[in-house]
Every structure is written in C-alpha cells, then in structure tokens.
C-alpha cells in the first residue's frame, strides 16, 4: 500500500501535513507526536524580523470553528534557522517553511536565506493571512501581485514553491492559474476566511484586531468546493485544507482534487490525531482496493449527475 505523494520534486511519505500557525515551529509537539511520521510540518509563518503580533484576545470560538487574529507573532527567520531548524532536523521532520513579507523583496530575501539553510524541504508563500494589513494578502488578492511574488521567488530558489491562496476572493481558481503561470510547484488552499464576532453585552469586538480568520469544520464544505474548482483549472498538485478533523475529511479533499492535505484547527482539539487518521486511510484503501493513495486525487465521480436529474 503506497501512501506517498509528490509535491513537485518533494516526495512525502504520506499526505498529512501539519498546517502553518497551528503547530508552532513543530518542536513544541516533538514530545507528543513523532514528527518523522508526518508527511511534513508547515511551520508558523515567518517574517525576516521577529514580530510581537496582536494583543489578546487573539482567538474566539464560533459555531464549529474559531476566529484567530494572532498577527503572526514570531521569532524571525534568522533565529528560526539557527535554533529551530536543527532541532526539527534532529527529529527527522520534513519541513515546509511558511514565509510572509510586506514587499516582494522580503519574500525574495526569505527565500534566499532558507534555500541556503539545511533542512528546508519547501517554501509555502503566505500571501493570504487576513490578520495583517501590510503586504501578504494584498499580493494574494491581486492576480498580478500573486504572479509577481511567485515568479520573483521562483527565480532565486530551487526549493518547491507553494503559494498559499486566500479564499477571500471571487474566483480562487484564477489565482491558482496565476500561480501556475508564474512557475509554482503546487498551491495550497485555503487560508482562513475573514470574519468577525461581537460581544453584544459590551458591543465590543471579541478580537483585539476586530476582525480575524475563520477556521475549523465550519469552513470545510467551502474549502472542498474551492479545491475542486482549482483542480479543474490547473495541473499543479494541490495541498487542500480547511476544517479537516478525521479520515473522511481527508478523503473528501483528496477526491475533490488535493494531492496532500494540511490539518490545522483540529490539531488544537486533538493533537494526537495523526496516527489514527493514517490508519483510517490505510483501512479505506484496503476496503476500496486502492494500491496508491495518488489514485484518489481528483477521482470525483460526476457521471451519474444527469441521470439523477432526469429521474427526480
């Protein structure tokens, strides 16, 4: 039974990736989870410099989901390379580094630094964080901006380049196409949905940043639809995410068109879920006589649609 998948030149032992911002720098989980058993670990979004992020409250629970406005607190790329990366390597983790910049030059600089560092498997370009005003999402909300960031990073690195797309656009597939044309190796989607919650007693926003990003099971059907749309639009491998909490959810994304998936919010609730989800995938493949998990990608069967309409 073959659980391995390919994202450009990167081969992962299985399709399960810890989602950026939901797994710290990975090392926090080394005592609880075998990092080497994950397909990969996408570490928390990194800027060139350290950042403090937004004041609390930074999260609020919503029906079957949560809003966050962390504001990309982080240690900056230099400390990451010096302190966290060696530890991740020691644990045998396949490391995807999520990078954020306010200008194209910053993305390029980050890509250069990380390409020279030992133990980085791929770069995920965060052009989709809804929680910071400057940069990032301004590239992700414009087709020319997306194209420009991806092609600039493409020129300076041999690492797989994976732009992470925002769902806060009218037509996400056109952004996947722009990424493909600019030389991306894959796309990942979705980042969180811009959202808001209010305490009606105090009439205050529940987040210090007023607005934040919605994640968790509440967004899953929309994310599945977006992966499906991108699958129709591009040939690139797609890393799907949004509300995945169990084996069935993973399968839904694979069948919709994803090659691999990320699990974010569910890891907060159930940090030891990884081995159970993998076991579930194996059981499914056995039950459906599937030899390689890649066979599932984009295997959605729409053939009975017309027939269903006629008979109803």
């Amino acid at each position: 039974m073959d659980l391995s998948v390919s994202i450009g030149s990167l081969r992962l032992a299985n399709p399960l990736i810890a989602a950026s911002g939901c797994f710290g720098y990975g090392v926090e989980y080394a005592g609880a989870v075998d990092l080497a058993a994950l397909g990969a670990v996408a570490v928390k979004g990194l800027f060139l410099a350290a950042r403090e992020g937004h004041p609390p409250p930074r999260i609020v629970e919503t029906p079957s989901g949560m809003l966050n406005a962390i504001g990309l607190q982080g240690i900056g790329v230099h400390r990451f390379v010096a302190e966290r990366l060696p530890e991740l390597r020691r644990h045998g983790a396949v490391v995807i580094v999520n990078i954020c910049g306010t200008t194209i030059d910053e993305y390029v600089e980050l890509a250069r630094i990380l390409s020279d560092a030992e133990g980085v498997a791929a770069l995920e370009l965060n052009i989709s964080c809804p929680n910071i005003k400057e940069g990032g999402i301004t590239f992700g909300c414009s087709l020319t901006g997306t194209h420009a960031v991806v092609s600039a990073v493409r020129k300076v690195t041999r690492l797989p380049v994976i732009p992470k797309l925002t769902p806060n656009v009218t037509d996400v597939a056109s952004f996947a196409r722009a990424a493909e044309e600019a030389g991306a190796d894959a796309v990942s989607l979705v980042n969180t949905f811009l959202a808001m919650a209010i305490d009606v007693e105090t009439r205050r926003p529940r987040l210090s940043n007023i607005v934040g990003g919605l994640s968790g099971p509440a967004i899953r059907p929309i994310a599945v639809r977006m992966v499906y749309e991108c699958r129709q639009a591009v040939r690139l491998p797609i890393i799907g995410m949004g509300g995945i909490a169990n084996t069935t959810d993973v399968l839904e994304f694979l069948i919709a068109g994803a090659t691999a998936v990320q699990i974010g919010t569910a890891n907060f609730v159930d940090p030891l879920l990884w081995s159970g989800v993998l076991e579930g995938l194996r059981a499914y493949m056995e039950r459906h006589r599937i030899g390689a998990i890649g066979e599932l990608t984009g295997s959605l069967d729409t053939s009975r649609r017309e027939h269903a309409w006629i008979s109803s």
Binding site: G21, C22, F23, G24, E28, Y29, G31, A32, K44, E52, G53, P55, P56, P57, R58, I59, E61, P63, S64, G65, M66, N68, I70, Q73, G216, P217, A245, T265, N267, F268, V269, D270, P271, L272
Partner: protein
C-alpha cells in the same frame, strides 16, 4: 509523559449552583501531575463547542493501594464549556489531555509558603499544599470568596497542616472584605527575617494587588494565570501574556508552555485583561 485519556466521569460533586468538582478516571495523568499543572478538557463530543478548555488539576485521588488513580477539577460555571461540564453525569467520557504547563516550585523549610486564592483560584493549591506537606514547609492559605458557602475544602487544607486565613466579601465567614486585606496585615506583622514565598491564583485584580503587596514587601511571588487557550501545547500562540525581564522590552510569551505559573515581577500587569 503527556497522555490524552478518554476519562470516565466518576463523580460530579455539585458544591453550589455555580461550582462543581468533576472527578475523572485518568491514572496516567494522575501519576505524573506536578503541583499547579493543568489539563485540557473537551466539554462535549463533536465540534460545537469546538475547543478544549484548560483546568488546573485540583486533586490527585488515590486508589485502594495508594496508587494515583484519578484527578479532579474545580469547575465554575461561567460560559458554554463550563456549563456543559457542570451538567455532566457520571459515566460520561471526557477527553482529557495532560499534564501540561510549568508547575509551581514549592519552597523548602525554613522558608514558608503563603498561598493566596480568590474564588475558583483555589484550584491549583491542593496539589501545592500536598507537596508542601511532603517537604515539611510551613504553609498558610489566604482564601477569599463572596460568601461563606463559597469557601470550599477548607478542612482539606487544614488536614494537610495548612494554616487558613479566610475572608468573605459579605462578612459571613472570616474577615469581611477582600483577601488582600488580611494578607497585607499579616505581611506587615511578619519580620523581614522570615523567608516567605507567595503563590497567588484568582481574578486578575486580586493577583495584581497581591503582586503589588509582594513587591512592596520584597517577597517573591508566583502567580498562576488563567488565559484563554486554543491548544495548551504551544501550537497556536493565543494564550500569550506580556512579560518583561529587568532591562528588557516587553514580549508576548505563551502562558501554556512558559506558564501558567509566572514570577509576578516578570508580568506587565497593566496589559492583563480584567
């Protein structure tokens, strides 16, 4: 070692309309929990509410052979999750992840330990008092609540050899007013030569006041904070508190892994909610 246990609820002792003590069958967690550590509980199955909640381990309960068998938590009904836990019936299973966080460092004799608890802030002090008794450290509990019927488990502390100083806001038991008043008086009446460490847990204004008293009297003070947490493991960066080291610039740190116990001098108290 961290464990995620499907813990059976052995008992849900309702102490009042607001408070209950939930006993959970969780031997692997009971066996390794240190004073002041916490667990993350999932109040209901399914995705609504979605997240787990942090709770201090209240008691470590032992089986017939003296082996650690169960833990309890002190629950105060305040929101959706705590209301669900208040209503939970014995036999239900609840996911319980722990133990988590940095424990209290219990001082050794001849130093004395003074614990200061407000309301549900009593929660981390049974485990600390137990450790202090093992070490033979003289211990005092300053414990305040709104009213006499909300002062719980005083006998348990007394059985552990802890001197108790009680206060209620309505004067129905102990000193009338806030717990910080008897604390201030006792601090003032104690000679500098007595080595004392303060430990505080309760509402933020109370802990802020205790921290100030400790600073005024040049006593070390550890506080246990109760921040909203997403994961409890350092993954999400939601439970941050602003800290500052002498000469340093203020910096957000995760209270789940750098805390929940902090040296009161390192916290930027103005930045804490409440």
């Amino acid at each position: 070692m961290l464990a995620d246990v499907d813990a059976t609820v052995l008992e849900n002792r309702r102490l009042s309309e607001h408070y209950s003590v939930l006993v959970l069958d969780a031997p692997p967690i009971a066996a390794v929990t240190q004073p002041g550590q916490f667990v993350m509980l999932k109040p209901a199955q399914g995705s609504d509410p979605l997240l787990r909640r942090p709770f201090s381990v209240f008691e470590i309960l032992r089986g017939p052979a003296g082996e650690p068998a169960a833990i309890s938590i002190l629950n105060k009904r305040a929101g959706v999750g705590t209301a669900l836990l208040y209503d939970v019936e014995p036999g239900t299973t609840i996911r319980c992840l722990g133990p988590l966080g940095k424990p209290f460092e219990a001082v050794r004799p001849p130093a004395e330990a003074w614990m200061v608890a407000g309301g549900v802030g009593l929660a981390p002090f049974v485990t600390l008092a137990t450790r202090l008794e093992e070490l033979g450290t003289p211990a005092t509990l300053f414990y305040g609540a709104r009213t006499a019927s909300e002062l719980y488990y005083v006998e348990l502390f007394e059985a552990l050899g802890v001197r108790t100083v009680l206060s209620t806001e309505d004067g129905t038991r102990g000193v009338r007013g806030r717990v910080t008043a008897p604390l201030r008086d006792t601090l003032s009446a104690t000679p500098d030569t007595t080595d004392i460490r303060l430990y505080a847990c309760g509402p933020t204004p109370m802990m802020r006041a205790v921290a100030r008293l400790a600073a005024d009297h040049r006593r070390p003070c550890d506080v246990s904070l109760e921040q909203v947490m997403g994961c409890g493991l350092g993954g999400c960066y939601s439970c941050v508190v602003l800290t500052t080291l002498p000469g340093g610039t203020p910096h957000f740190v995760r209270s789940c892994i750098e805390g929940p116990v902090f040296d009161a001098r390192h916290l930027v108290w103005e930045a804490l909610e409440g």
